[in-house]
């Protein structure tokens, strides 16, 4: 049984590799010989900039393209449909609801980073919005001065010194890294564990359908809240800019506490 599964996996994997590399063969039969351009990288004596560790660039570029088409043919039409049939008021409630659920992730991770003050503030948000905010539909906590502080397990790993590892573009989720992908899996598993343990819809006869509905709406809301559109910039090096900004932002936000930076003395360069 195990053998059969792994064989099938190998089959699928080699087919996948084949698809990725299929493009290469075609170019070799070009009739016109390439002529070197007027300017090449060799002539510049300077540091490269906006660089990110990206050994799987070809895979990532393909995944970037996949996400573009996923957006174009599935997600954006669905999001547009959702936006046109749902009143703006309801859209905000839906977003607030899922953002409130995500506070569980923020809370668990600020605790894992031993950030006492931040954990308390996030706990305060979760409690306030779940009660006064009617199950998270409203966000009175922000008005009370409790600001949202996004945390996730990728940041927790970074905080405790884990390197980000190679850049990775995930289907649907987009820019990530090896570390952050692991973090995403952990956070999702944690949330799923809590959801299963609580089992809010176990008493109904449609618990599976309800769960599927909740997840689907979450996906739609996620795309709805994110206003990034692939290639909207019209900039041919967009992939590299997105990669750079994602990486830098994550590096900064998961940075170690200031005391450590002071000790290492590498600041102020």
């Amino acid at each position: 049984m195990i053998k059969r599964t792994s064989g099938r996996f190998l089959q699928a994997f080699s087919l996948f590799l084949l698809l990725l590399t299929a493009g290469c063969a075609a170019t070799q039969s070009n009739l016109n010989r390439e002529i070197p351009p007027m300017h090449t990288i060799g002539e510049f004596r300077d540091q490269r900039f906006a660089e990110v560790n990206d050994p799987w660039e070809r895979f990532n570029l393909n995944m970037y393209r996949f996400n573009f088409y996923l957006d174009k043919y599935l997600l954006l039409p669905v999001v547009r449909g959702y936006e046109s049939v749902t009143p703006v008021f309801v859209q905000h409630r839906v977003s607030n609801f899922y953002n409130n659920v995500a506070e569980i992730r923020n809370l668990s991770n600020s605790m894992l980073q031993a950030k006492g003050k931040e954990s308390l503030s996030t706990l305060g948000r979760l409690v306030t919005n779940s009660t006064i905010g009617i199950g998270g539909l409203f966000d009175p906590a922000t008005k009370f001065g409790l600001e949202r502080q996004d945390q996730d397990f990728g940041k927790t790993l970074g905080y405790w010194g884990a390197e980000s590892g190679p850049y990775l573009v995930l289907p649907f989720f987009g820019p990530s890294s090896v570390r952050d992908t692991g973090g995403l899996a952990f956070d999702s598993a944690l949330l799923y564990g809590i959801y299963s343990a609580v089992g809010p819809f176990d008493n109904t006869s449609h618990s599976q359908a309800i769960s599927a509905g909740i997840t689907t709406l979450q996906g739609i809301d996620m795309r709805h809240q994110q206003d990034f559109r692939y290639f909207e910039s019209g900039y041919p090096f967009e992939y590299y800019m997105v990669r750079f900004f994602y990486h830098e932002k994550r590096e900064l936000e998961s940075a170690k506490p200031p005391e450590k930076v002071l000790e290492s003395g590498d600041a102020g360069k």
């Binding site: 990725l20 493009g23 170019t27 070009n30 016109n32 010989r33 390439e34 002529i35 070197p36 351009p37 007027m38 300017h39 090449t40 990288i41 510049f44 004596r45 300077d46 540091q47 490269r48 900039f49 906006a50 660089e51 660039e57 070809r58 570029l61 393909n62 393209r65 573009f68 703006v88 600001e147 502080q149 996004d150 692939y230 290639f231 909207e232 910039s233 019209g234 900039y235 041919p236 090096f237 967009e238 992939y239 590299y240 800019m241 997105v242 900004f245 830098e248 932002k249 590096e251 900064l252 936000e253 940075a255 170690k256 200031p258 930076v261 002071l262 590498d266 600041a267 102020g268 360069k269």
Partner: protein, 429 residues
Amino acid sequence: MKSLRLLIICCLMLHPVSSLAADDGYGYPIPGAHEATILGTPTSLMPEFPAKMRMKQIIVNVIPGREKPPLFYYDEGLHCSFAYQEKKAPLIFLIAGTGSSGLAPKIISMAKAFYQAGYHVITLPSPTNANFIISASQSRVPGDLTEDAEDLYRAMASAWNQVKGDIEVSDFHLCGYSLGGTQAAFVARLDEERKLFNFRKVLMINPPVSLYSSLTRFEELLQKIPGGAKKEGAFFNKMLAKFGAYYRYGNFVGINDDLIYAIYQERLFSKEETAGLIALAYRINFAGMIFSSDVMTGGGYVVPKNRVLKASDSLADYFQVSSHLSFFSYFDEYFYPHFQKKRPGLTKEALIASESLRSIEGYLRSSGKFGVMTNQNDFILTTEELDYLKELFGARTKVYPRGGHLGNLEFKENLEYMVAFFGSEGVTP
């Protein structure tokens, strides 16, 4: 473009707000030209727009049957935004600045202001934006005011064709910022012959007088970094390290307005460094233009001739190479030879002279439809060029005391002036 703006914002700024808003009755707060250019308008000083607007993206097929290499698989036509009224109203075309798309934050703010004032609006990317080069430039070589005007006019006609069944239009107007401002003048002149729109009024915002002169100003900013422009990569990395260290020290919770304001107030970056960052952002922007044009023409400038780039090919080296090329390299090695081939005997001086408002001075002087809005400290203009604009357009020149290059474009008062310019009845000489 969005990511560039973010880059600029991330990596920047400096001098103390020594005299927050000088006592001249103008409320835009940032005195320094470079700082204003980078910081733009604080959100609290922008007007409030309604949450829902009749505004959508349209994709315009300007050159039917256009062949595009596999690398540009995502380019399906010219991306414009279109805002429309449900009653008869004037339509205004907006042209974006150098490298910007038709959906860039600045042009969208303008579109919202005009929409709110009751106009139909169509925004167009700059002819120097890759999307325009790929989908709408006949020659695929951007930067010539006369040819770009032809391309823009064709794009406007196609966009108009696409929407005219759905809206009722009373008049046509035209407005552009930065390079788009100068291009608007050339488009308006073309319209006098073609008469498709008969633009009633045309506003140029922070326009260069001479493209060569203004781009020289940008290049000069980069000369002052350590080691000169050739070491822009090292400079970039150094500024990034400085920014990162500052962030870690400061206990900031994220990249937000507080952080940016702190960087500005505490002078994290010196005067030269700020100038260098502006110039670097411009180079990175320019790189997109050089690369797309080279791919589209197969010119062998930065991409090997006869190489067919595919969607999964790495562009990392092309990015580094293209962003290390100066405007002068582009002009001397690519742009000028292209036109020399078409017009034998063309001198470099003649080409430079044709890329200027001065080349259509007679027309501009004779027409009452133009207005100019710029800033006293817009560093893309020399004092002499600013005086020239004032002399040329007289009372129709509005010069704000500060704002740098486009820094105050989204400021309430500026947007109000823009709208009022078109609203005022009749044409004042």
